[in-house]
Amino acid sequence: MPSFVITEKCDGCKALDRTACQYICPNDLMVLDRESSKAINRAPDMCWECYNCVKICPTQAIEVRGYADFMPLGGVVQPLRSSDAIMWTVKFRDGQIKRFKFPTRTTPEGSAVPDAGFETSSDDLKSPLLRTEPASTGMDDLEKI
C-alpha cells in the first residue's frame, strides 16, 4: 500500500506552517483529509514507495506496508533520518531484526556553496567552458576527443 498513516500518531502537522508529507510527496499523493485533519495517501497504487513521506514525518506517523499484490505480510523497513545520517531498521517476516546506519551528507544542511571554491576562467558565453571550469575538472583544459 505503500505508505500509510497511523491515525493516532498523525497530528496533521498542526504546529508547522505546512503538512510535511504533503509538501514532499513527489507524486502529489499525500494530502490532509479535511474531516479528520490528518494525512492520507490518496492513491496507494500510484505510490513509488520512495519513503520521502516516511522520512520527513515529524511524528513518525507514516510507515510502509509492502505492495500486497506481491509482498508477503510481515516485513517492515523503517528509517530514522538525521541531518547527516540515516538509520534503517529491517524486520523480517520471521521476526529477525537487522539495523544499518549510513552517512547521508558531509556538510551542514543548507551550506552548499554553488561555486564550491572553484573559479570560472572565462566570461565568454560562446566558450564551451562551464561555470567553475576548468578548475573543477581537475585538469588544465577540457579533455579532447
Partner: protein, 631 residues
C-alpha cells in the same frame, strides 16, 4: 459559468524558463544562474513537485553511473564514446556524448564539495563499481543537488526563482519560436502563463506508457518513477521539434517485482546470473551474439543483448532466472585466508548489499525482509520489467538537438548547443535523445550545457516575444476542460466512475497501457511486434486520442493525471510510428520485429527521426546519418 472563471491567471515573465525539477533541471538552474548574473538575465524554474525530492533521483541513488575519471587518467573521452555507441548497437550522437563526457567529472567534483558522500578507498580515491560507475552514500543525493541549485538561484536575488507544484501542459509558440509555457497549480486554482525568451525542457522520461507487470497496488512500483509521465516528449513534439530514437525504449532487467538495482551485484560483487539449472546463459548462449555483430561481439555486451539471451532462456522454459548473490559473497569471503578477517568482510558485504537497495529502491529491501531473504544465504530472482522511455539510461528517445560548436560535425549543428530544431527551445536529460548513459551526473551536466547555451541565445535575441492572446485563452479553456466535464455530468449516474459522458484518467491510462502491451511489444507480448500489430495499435490509439477530449477530473490533482496521460499518448504514438518506420530488428531484448527479425546495417545504420508538423497535424518520418567520430 465556466470553471475557468474560478481560476486566477498568473503571468510570469522571465528570460530563461526551466521546466522540470530533476537532475537536468537542477543543473540548468545552477548554470543559468551564473551566466544570468553576468548578463543581467532572469531565471525561473517550474517543478511539478518539490525540488528537494522531485524527479528520478527522488528516493536517492547508490551509485553515480557516469564518472570518467579523466584527471586520474583512468579512461579517455574516446573510450566512453565508444562504449556508449556499442551499447546502443551503433546508434548514438558521438558529439553529444563527448560533450557531456568532458564536463561530467567536474559536476561530480561539485557534488562532493556540496556534501555528497562518495565512497573512498584507502588512498582517498573514489571506489569504482564498474569502469564508469562510482559508489556513493546517496540517500540525500537529490536533496543536496537541489540545495545547490536553489542557492545558485538565490544569488540572482529577485531575478531568480523556483515555483513548485505547477504542472506544465503545453508550449506557447510564436510562429516557429517557443516563447513560453502554460500550466496550472495542482494545489490552488491558478493557471500559470510563462513568457520567456528561451525555454528548457527538462521534464524527464516516460513511465506507465506500457502495461506494467504488477497491476494491483504494485502498479506504482515502476522501475523509473510513475511521476515521469512523458511531459518532455509531449512538449517538444507539440512545439514541432524533430525527435530522434523514439523507437529506442529501455527494458531494464532488475530484481523481480520490486525492481531493485542489479549494477552493484554484477559489477561490484561480480555475481553471476543463471537459469534454474545453474547455467550462465551469457556463456551457454554466446554463439547467439555473433548474429548481432559487430555490436554483439564487442565487450561489454550491449544491454539489450544481455536481456535478449535471458529472454531466450525464459522462452525455453528454463526460468526462474537467479542472481547468485550467495555464491558471489561466498567467493569473496573464501578468498580471504584469515578467518577473523573473512568474518569482518562478510559483515561489510552484507551492509553494502543492503545499502544498495536502501539508498535507491527501499521496496526491494522490504521484499527481502518480507520473504526472509538474506542475500549471503539465498539467491534472488531477476526478471525483465516493462518498457520505459529514458534516454539518460540505456534507452535513447528524445529531441534531436544541436551539437557543440567545437565538436559537432556538419549536419549535427544548426545553432546553440542542445537547442532543438525549434528556435529558443532547448532540451536536456531524458528530454534530449541519442546521448544515452548520462544517468544522474550526465543529466545534471547536460542541463548545465543547455542552460549556458540558452543564456547565450537570450543575449543574442534580447526582445521578449509577445504572447498570442487568443491562443492563450484557447489553451486555458482546453487545459481546464476535464474539470468542466466532470462538474457538468457528475450527477447523471450513481457511480461517478461510470458515466457515459466522460472517462476518468486512470481507466484512460489502462486503455493506453493495454494497447501498447498487446500491439507495440509490451511485456506480455514477449516484447515482440510486427507491422500488422503496430498498424492495429495505431488504429486503436487514434480512438483513444479522440477520447482525450472526454477526460474528466474531480480536482486539480486528477486534472494533473488527465494531462499526464495526454502526454503519455504522444510518447506512445511517436514510439509506434518509429518502430513501424525502422524495418529491422536492431535492439532485440528491447523489442523484436518478428516481420524483420534481423539487423540490416546497410539500410538502417542511421537515426530514425520523426516530427509532428504543427501546421498540417501530420507525422513526418526521416532518416539521419550516424557520423562516427571515433573508430
Amino acid at each position: 459559468m465556466s470553471i475557468a472563471n474560478n481560476f486566477e491567471t498568473v503571468e510570469v515573465h522571465t528570460d530563461i524558463l526551466i521546466l522540470g525539477g530533476g537532475m537536468a533541471a537542477c543543473g540548468a538552474a545552477y548554470e543559468a544562474a551564473h551566466w544570468a548574473k553576468k548578463n543581467n538575465l532572469s531565471v525561473t524554474l517550474v517543478d511539478k513537485a518539490s525540488m528537494d525530492r522531485s524527479g528520478a533521483v527522488a528516493m536517492g541513488l547508490s551509485a553515480i553511473n557516469m564518472y570518467l575519471g579523466l584527471k586520474e587518467g583512468k579512461n579517455t573521452l574516446s573510450d566512453y564514446v565508444k562504449y556508449v555507441k556499442n551499447d546502443l548497437m551503433g546508434i548514438a550522437r558521438d558529439d553529444l556524448v563527448a560533450n557531456i563526457g568532458r564536463h561530467v567529472d567536474a559536476s561530480v567534483h561539485l557534488f562532493e564539495k556540496w556534501g555528497l558522500p562518495i565512497w573512498k578507498d584507502e588512498d582517498g580515491k573514489y571506489v569504482n563499481e564498474g569502469r564508469w560507475q562510482i559508489m556513493i552514500h546517496g540517500e540525500s543525493y537529490k536533496t543536496i543537488v537541489a540545495e545547490a541549485a536553489k542557492n545558485a538561484l538565490a544569488e540572482l536575488g529577485d531575478k531568480g526563482q523556483y515555483i513548485e507544484r505547477v504542472f506544465i501542459t503545453d508550449p506557447i509558440m510564436d510562429g516557429d519560436r517557443c516563447v513560453g509555457a502554460i500550466g496550472f497549480s495542482v494545489r490552488e486554482n491558478k493557471v500559470y502563463i510563462f513568457r520567456a525568451k528561451t525555454v528548457l525542457a527538462t521534464m524527464g522520461g516516460a513511465v506507465h506508457v506500457f502495461k506494467p507487470k504488477s497491476v494491483g497496488e504494485g502498479l506504482g512500483r515502476s522501475w523509473y518513477p510513475p511521476f515521469n509521465s512523458g511531459a518532455s516528449a509531449y512538449f517538444t513534439l507539440k512545439a514541432g521539434a524533430e525527435m530522434t530514437c523514439q523507437e529506442v525504449r529501455f527494458v531494464p532487467v532488475r530484481f523481480k517485482d520490486a525492481y531493485g538495482p542489479v549494477g552493484a551485484w554484477f559489477l561490484l560483487f561480480k555475481a553471476q546470473a543463471t537459469n534454474a539449472l545453474g547455467e550462465n546463459y551469457m556463456q551457454t548462449r554466446a554463439p547467439e551474439l555473433e548474429k548481432w555483430a559487430p555490436y554483439g561481439e564487442a565487450k561489454p555486451t550491449p544491454t539489450n543483448l544481455r536481456n535478449y539471451l535471458m529472454m531466450l532462456e525464459i522462452e525455453e522454459g528454463k526460468g526462474p532466472i537467479f542472481m547468485r548473490t550467495d555464491e558471489a559473497i561466498q567467493r569473496i569471503v573464501d578468498s580471504i585466508p584469515d578467518e577473523k578477517e573473512a568474518k569482518r568482510k562478510l559483515k561489510e558485504l552484507e551492509k553494502e548489499a543492503w545499502e544498495d537497495f536502501l539508498d535507491m529502491t527501499v521496496s526491494q529491501a522490504l521484499l527481502w525482509a518480507s520473504t526472509n531473504i538474506k542475500p549471503e544465504e539465498k539467491p534472488s530472482e531477476i526478471s525483465a520489467t516493462e518498457p520505459y522511455f529514458i534516454s539518460s539510461h540505456s534507452g535513447a528517445s528524445g529531441a534531436w538537438v544541436s551539437g557543440p560548436e567545437d565538436l559537432a560535425p556538419e549536419g549535427y549543428k544548426w545553432g546553440y548547443p542542445n537547442m532543438t530544431t525549434v528556435r529558443g527551445l532547448f532540451a536536456a536529460g531524458d528530454a534530449s535523445g541519442a546521448s544515452s548513459h548520462k544517468f544522474s551526473s550526465g543529466s545534471f551536466t547536460e542541463g548545465r550545457i543547455a542552460a549556458k547555451a540558452a543564456a547565450s541565445f537570450c543575449v543574442d535575441n534580447p526582445d521578449l516575444p509577445a504572447l498570442p492572446e487568443e491562443r492563450l485563452n484557447e489553451l486555458k479553456e482546453g487545459m481546464l476542460k476535464p474539470l468542466e466535464l466532470f462538474n457538468t455530468h457528475k450527477g447523471y449516474t450513481q457511480d461517478p466512475n461510470i458515466n457515459p459522458n466522460y472517462i476518468r484518467p486512470q481507466m484512460f491510462m489502462f486503455r493506453l497501457q493495454k494497447i501498447m502491451d498487446e500491439y507495440a511489444g509490451g511485456a506480455s507480448s514477449g516484447f515482440k511486434t510486427s507491422a500488422p500489430l503496430l498498424e492495429k495499435g495505431l488504429e486503436n490509439l487514434a480512438m483513444l486520442r479522440e477520447d482525450m477530449a472526454s477526460l474528466a477530473a474531480e480536482d486539480t490533482h486528477e486534472l494533473m493525471r488527465c494531462w499526464e496521460n495526454i502526454h503519455r499518448i504522444w510518447q506512445a504514438e511517436s514510439h509506434i510510428r518509429t518502430m513501424l518506420f525502422r524495418e529491422e530488428t536492431r535492439w532485440p531484448g528491447y523489442y523484436f520485429r518478428s516481420d524483420f527479425p534481423e539487423l540490416k546495417e546497410e539500410d538502417w545504420k542511421c537515426f530514425a527521426n520523426c516530427r509532428w508538423n504543427p501546421e498540417s497535424g501530420e507525422w513526418e518520418m526521416l532518416k539521419r546519418d550516424v557520423i562516427d567520430m571515433v573508430d
